[in-house]
Symmetry: C2
């Protein structure tokens, strides 16, 4: 009994999915039960990487969604609209949906999930995060017995490629970005990648699954790598760290009053406080995520009782993403073979929400910090700064003075010094107060860089 598949989009990922479906030999035999019935494309005349019966192609995507021969709708067109409307239309028609569209899910996930639950269909999104890495499925199903403490990941391949090259070559951000654009690793408009928005979309999705509650995407503090100085990458390396753009979601043992009032989910005892954020982060070289280079992605999940488990692999690309899309199609196809009553859902696969979550006020969260200060080059300045941090109640792990050269864009020139401080864990509000007190000192010229440290 063949299962009809409809594809919305035949770009890189869509062609990858079609290639798998049209060559089932050697794959799970269920792939052979999947029949591609209709494909929406913008230009039917365009040459494609995959050979398809031209009669399958249509330009009106609603013809795919509405086709009674299509049982599962696969949305790989990208963008917010018409993707969102087509997904909702498929759900309304009682069809399960597979999508690789992280932007739609991060923004309209609640609306889509509610519609799917009401209609008794699945919306599966393995391809939306981590490319070919199985991470959605393990979070939903394999780790369900755990209390998740933290999910942290390198989930944007473009920035990891840039950071890897900055670290290896000591190159400046702008140079490597231009090169990455030439090589096709970065978009002509790289904003979503380098400013952290793409990673924020993805951590919103992962956190929602790990903690069972919806995450307010717009409230996630997001800092990209676009203002990162090569000098800080180099100093981090000298100190035994690697700089990575990390997306983090961690459980915050909050009293109700610390949840942000800006959040629509008013904080109560029954609301789980979460610290969710995206920022460049110093990782100790022995950290499992520190060895993830180039365009690879990796997600580290920490929970009780499992401890630390990590998922690693190619974060993008036609093949890996298509592998994830087909995984979702197979999951739905496998469940269909059970012959369960229409509308009945497996609660793990459906990933229904079961808890309220709220982002906590960032000033109450606790982190280690890396700070680079430009100072006068005077005897005793390192001692004065160390003392000032101590007076402000911030405990320091290391403090190192470098001779400031004129080479860096924040070098300051003129014989100043650079002091790099790595703190122990401290509440953000206290750290900010300390930093204000320190920059008020006459020998401190400016805070040239401030990064988080794991």
């Amino acid at each position: 009994m063949a299962i009809g598949i409809g594809l919305l989009g035949l770009g890189t990922v869509g062609a990858g999915v079609a290639a798998i479906l049209s060559s089932p030999e050697g794959r799970h035999p269920l792939v052979g039960d999947l029949a591609l019935r209709r494909v929406a494309v913008r230009d039917p005349g365009r040459a494609r990487a995959v050979n398809l019966d031209p009669t399958l192609l249509v330009t009106d995507p609603t013809l795919v969604v509405d086709d009674p021969a299509v049982d599962i709708v696969v949305e790989v067109m990208g963008g917010l609209e018409p993707a969102r409307s087509l997904i909702l239309r498929a759900i309304a028609a009682g069809k399960s949906v597979v999508t690789a569209n992280k932007a739609v899910i991060a923004r309209y996930g609640e609306e889509i999930a509610a519609a799917a639950a009401a209609r008794g269909v699945y919306v599966l999104i393995e391809a939306a995060v981590g490319g070919g890495i199985p991470i959605i499925e393990p979070l939903k199903q394999s780790l369900g017995g755990n209390r998740i403490r933290r999910v942290s990941g390198i989930i944007n391949g473009t920035t990891n490629y840039i950071l890897s090259r900055m670290a290896d070559e000591g190159a400046a951000y702008g140079e490597v970005l231009a090169d990455a654009q030439r090589l096709g690793y970065a978009e002509a408009d790289p904003a979503a990648d380098v400013q952290g928005g793409d990673a924020a979309d993805k951590i919103a999705i992962l956190a929602g699954l790990a903690y069972g509650g919806s995450i307010e995407r717009a409230a996630i503090p997001t800092e990209g790598i676009d203002r990162l100085d090569a000098r800080d990458v180099a100093y981090a390396k000298e100190l035994g760290y690697v700089v990575k753009l990390l997306a983090v979601a961690e459980r915050f043992e909050a009293s109700a009053s610390t949840a942000t009032t800006a959040s629509p989910a008013a904080a109560t005892d029954s609301v789980l406080g979460l610290d969710v954020r995206v920022h460049p982060t110093l990782l100790p070289r022995a950290h499992p995520l520190a060895g993830v280079h180039g365009v690879n992605n990796a997600i580290l999940v920490e929970g009780e009782p499992v401890g630390q488990v990590m998922f690693f692999g190619p974060g993008a690309g036609a093949g890996p993403t298509a592998s994830a899309v087909v995984a979702d199609i197979l999951n739905i196809a496998g469940i269909r073979q059970l012959g369960a009553p229409a509308g009945a859902l497996d609660p793990l696969l459906a990933a229904s929400r079961w808890r309220q979550c709220a982002l906590v006020d960032g000033t109450r969260t606790r982190h280690r910090n890396y700070v680079r200060l430009l100072t006068r080059d005077e005897a005793g300045v390192i001692g004065k700064i160390g003392t000032a941090f101590g007076t402000a109640g911030v405990s320091i792990q290391s403090i190192v003075q470098y001779e400031a050269s004129g080479a860096g864009r924040n070098g300051g020139g003129g014989g100043g010094a650079e002091i790099v401080v790595i703190t122990h864990e401290v509440e953000e509000s206290r750290f900010r107060q300390a930093l204000a007190a320190i920059t008020a000192q006459p020998e401190v010229e400016t805070v040239a860089a401030c990064l988080r440290t794991l």
Copy 2:
């Protein structure tokens, strides 16, 4: 509607499972639907890490299996019997089974799977390989669209702990083993770990799932670390490699005639040839598995089109293993909520076999090799050996001469030399011929070590 759980065994893992079931808060809400109904223990009077209602405890395990209030039987007693019989009894009673027992599954997996398929129940085994790492589920479900090329893993924590310390400290195998036994990382009888049998059990299971066919466990060539010389670990390190006990299963593009005739599955065009083996292996330092230290496990799956994905985490321990057991219980519980007709199975979750596999004749497989030769210390010996390999048709990547000291147990003393050769990939039969020709040379005293290299 609560789902009744029966536990066979309340040792480390069993207590870990009971601890999760008795503290559902903060875990997936489905955990709250699981009710522990009966637990088989050897000694009901023994003090336990977990507080259970003493009326749940019984000493006769058939009372657990036969209890009509028990819907899912969890076998965490270990050993071959009575575990196998109890699993079959549960299946016959129409109950799904969750087991962490790799030995039973590696040996009786086919019998158990056939019984489960006939009765329409699941036998799930996430905890049998890789402890808390979700690897069984991803192989069965998330990677089903791929043609798997290779599965390779560090899947025995004891040996990885020993090898990590040998590499870090330059210590001898025997010393580290004794220390590991003192610390509880190795059993009093370490044979199953250090001789590779445990890893062979596990790769038989992984290969069966990755390739969809049954693997003849007894036919897997298995070499442990118990004869590994600290000297080879040190030389490998100098040459940029790390020595790991690797379990590997890879697709072999065989002509029918190369499949071993010893295999019960006679080789035909429709039989997939596999090269499955366990042995100490030199990994280049940049290989994803090279950074896996201590008791951690990691499994690398390579397939088309996904590329390389890796799963990393704690390979043993009460918490991680219990996390995997509960994952399986939740999967069965989730499916039950669908209200499907009794006996209907999800083909992905059930992991029914769909292909015939046969191990290929080891002499036809291709590998890179590391060889350490003890030779006379004569001018030109390195050149003679290099030439001899070349004459025998074995291409060499590197050849290095070391001064043999008397320190190593194979040192030979008396001013001999050690020559370490790393070959390019070569068919095993040709490599063996070359080695025979080389040891016949008068300046070659003996082959002190021979290891595989990735």
